[in-house]
Symmetry: C2
Subunit: 514 residues, 2 copies
């Protein structure tokens, strides 16, 4: 059972339960394949956020696209956008459909909506092995990227949790970060050049290692979320596949000492590719859910008790490269962990992490079957503010629901570290009302509290899931009034008719769940 | 004798030789100090490019600012821009005045021009030691930055050749790169947040390690060159001062094998902070000019002859950090150099490089006294295109002048490497006609040939000197028509009256030398 599998996009998905209105009259799309059958429209109706799953499981959709287009090249894409722009048809670009921010969801609106599936703009187009530059079509998925590079001994090193389904274009459009971003960088660091098509023109950004020629246009399109144009290909920086990859774990005495171990390691220039610290609640879940399978848990707990650690915080360290580089990185990691009085656990928990790294989203459905809903969100902040962000979010969410169902279990980990700060990733759970509208309403209330807390301490609106529709009410607080006007001016220049993803990035819909 | 020294901005500069027109009637600037005396106007009339020096030495200026303002805070800066915008006064932001692209030069125009000197917006404002974030006023010079950080054991690590005079705001506005950018990154990598003031609003970009909230606004202002707003402060990422710094040299057998050594080292993830390869002509100059002083040259040449290297190419390697890190980096460097059959020279030439690293610009004046003009330009390209760029530029410039003065000595080095490419830095010389107009005309002809060659092979318009006025005819070839429209849309949103640095970045003046 695969999340987003084209044959079964959502577990429990049953197309026959939905009633779709007949599509309105649409313009002629020339030689581009455009389908209006219910199956195509349903499969492109929602992303993979919790409200999406709740709506799809309940058979209750506020809107679906009126048609789905499958352009085969930039010219077809350009002609689609021109036609849509001239006739007021709203356009939603679709990569892997894994948005968790409402980034691909149509809004109920009398104007027709066309979803543009980029699946046919896919594959490795050119490879410059000398420079390590690989050009991929926007619709290329994570496994396709790595499969194309592996025979040449290369890797992109970009492994978001959505890796199995998400695409090159979607990564660039939403500021994706892979699980080893500490080593390989975020997607913005990996993009050397790109092509994008907008209603009023095409943008060709040449692949250059650096340029001093004015504002970096790559940054106009990284994070553009289909609102400023449709990315059709990207030239990505690829690196030699590492000889070896190793993940090991330690247990910090508490969250504060764990944060300090991470901060000191990162600021000392540690050669790690991955660094992650779970807070107490997440560690508890990891030890019971993650390790119980190995029958290792009671032994581990006893061993830790002997060392005076009862409620520690799990640290995961990853390094890749030559055997010597990896040894060097782990020497540093063990030294800093020791100085912070953490207990080294070795490779066991790391093996579980590697095994499960893309599987956690699949747990959501089992939980829903059991009556519990779960969602995640993440932010980023300077090291000096991590404690404040953590406190603000916990304060906002714990006890957020009244009555017998008041407890909102909340887990957190730090990951994706930078010299000057780190991402905080939160997972929350709540008892899910059986009525989908009530469930979505409860989710929206919690989401609002979380984002208000994040914004109140000046942390990032999102670290690697973009703005979409669900973060759009908060992003202007990060940009400021002038910054918001800037982004709007660019959108207006590229898309004066305002047909591209109209509720995403700017101008959110009235309701959080659309 | 200091280049740009406030007491003697240009060697040979004599203010009494210039006749300045009386400034036109200017609006009232409120409580901001604005000076109209000849000395202030002359000192802010030109940058530090070759045509600037030629014009200033000859006492022949096409234009000078009509007044110079010295705002003390963002409010004063904002009020200046509002007044200028309302009354059509053109504004040129001034940091260290070290532009080599005509970025601070007024154009002859009936409308008045106000140069805004940011020297009073300077100094360390706040320091977050935990996160390594230091907030500096835009007018803070390189030495002031390092002096403020050193007592805390920190460094910015940003050492452009203009370090002594150039400023934080100028670095950000022009995509500055320091000599150790391989280790510390370009200025864009070092900017966590910033404030900028434009005629229609202020932009506050919070210091975040990363954010997925839409297009990265930092990239709108990095490279904005005073055209999109005036940067008033930046939050910069600072790092612990390295325990040790080492520079050593080797001699590659030829340019091609030297390039390959660099490429392989960089793609293998070398832990160096600096890597530089001179071509044959530049190596010849380095060996005779740079090493003769040490009486080391004849010995070295004999020693190299014995090893079969007669016309090699100088490689410089720099590393900093802990003693162990530096040893590790040099172990890699020696191994790759050896595999490329380069001869290791040790620390001698590196010492000269460190001694002279900020001094080369001062040689220009001695050369001019002797009747020779020299200028530099730089670009960047993927590794696979380095040979093509090198060939195109040499083809365009060698033999570019007819007659007995036809030889244009041309030197090149690679520096500022990236995983996917590298910067190529060229120095050319020509016999300087005594008439300044003729000298500038000869320079403009060579500059045009060079930039045409760079653009013809799709290399970067500039790697670290920005667009200014002199690269503005070529930058649109890099941006494309749509990219140019994007940048123009942002400029129009922030500065609808078009008063900010009107000939810089976009809309170049008719003549290359203004």
């Amino acid at each position: 059972r695969r999340l987003g599998d084209p044959e079964a996009p959502f577990p429990g998905f049953d197309g026959s339960r939905f009633q779709l209105a007949d599509p309105p009259s649409l313009p002629s799309w020339g030689d581009v394949e455009v389908r209006t059958d219910a199956d195509d429209r349903l499969r492109h109706a929602r992303g993979q956020g919790l409200p999406d799953v709740l709506r799809l499981r309940a058979g209750s959709l506020p809107a679906a696209p009126d048609a789905v287009a499958y352009p085969q090249n930039d010219d077809q894409l350009g002609s689609l956008l021109e036609t849509a722009s001239a006739s007021g048809v709203r356009v939603i670009p679709w990569g892997g459909g894994t948005s968790v921010t409402g980034g691909v969801n149509p809004v109920p609106d009398p104007r027709p909506t066309l979803t543009v599936d980029l699946g046919r703009l896919s594959g490795l187009e050119t490879l410059d092995e000398e420079s390590g530059l690989a050009t991929f079509g926007a619709g290329t998925s994570g496994p396709e990227v790595e499969r194309a590079l592996r025979p040449r001994g290369l890797t992109l090193g970009h492994f978001p949790q959505s890796f199995e389904l998400s695409t090159v274009g979607g990564w660039v459009a939403t500021h994706s970060s892979g699980q080893e971003s500490f080593g390989y960088g975020r997607i913005g660091d990996l993009v050397a050049g790109l092509d994008a098509v907008a209603p009023t023109g095409r943008l060709h950004i040449p692949a250059l290692p650096a340029s001093a020629a004015g504002p970096d246009l790559r940054a106009f399109m990284t994070g553009s979320e289909g609102r400023l144009g449709v990315i059709s290909r990207a030239v990505l920086r690829v690196t030699p596949s590492p000889e070896t990859m190793r993940v090991e774990a330690a247990l910090a005495r508490d969250f504060t000492s764990g944060i300090e171990i991470c901060r000191r390691l990162v600021r000392a220039g540690a050669g790690l590719s991955m660094l992650r610290l779970s807070d107490g609640p997440e560690t508890e879940v990891a030890l019971t859910v993650g390790l119980a399978k190995s029958a290792f848990e009671p032994l581990l707990r006893g061993w830790l008790r002997l060392r005076g650690v009862e409620r520690g915080c799990l640290l995961l360290f990853g390094a890749n490269g030559s055997a010597g580089d990896v040894d060097g990185a782990f020497e540093d990691a063990r030294r800093f962990a020791g100085e912070g009085r953490a207990v080294w656990l070795g490779a066991g928990p790391g093996k579980n992490w590697r095994r499960d790294r893309f599987h956690h989203p699949y747990l959501r459905d089992g939980l829903l079957d059991a009556g519990y809903a779960t969602d995640t969100f993440e932010t980023a902040a300077p090291w000096s503010k991590v404690g404040e962000v953590y406190g603000a979010v916990r304060g906002a969410l714990l006890g957020a629901v009244e009555g017998p169902e008041r407890e909102i279990p909340l887990l957190c980990h730090l990951s994706h570290p930078y010299a000057d700060g780190v991402s905080l990733y939160f997972t929350f759970f709540f008892r899910c009302p059986p009525d989908p509208d009530a469930a979505v309403e409860r989710w929206a209330g919690l989401k609002r509290r979380a984002q208000d807390a994040v914004a109140s301490v000046g942390a990032a609106t999102s670290h690697h899931h973009g703005v979409g529709s669900w973060h759009a009410p908060w992003a202007p607080r990060e940009w400021g009034e002038t910054g918001t006007r800037l982004i709007r001016a660019v959108a207006k220049e590229l898309d004066p008719a305002g047909v591209l993803n109209p509720h995403v990035l700017l101008d959110p819909a009235d309701r959080l769940d659309i």
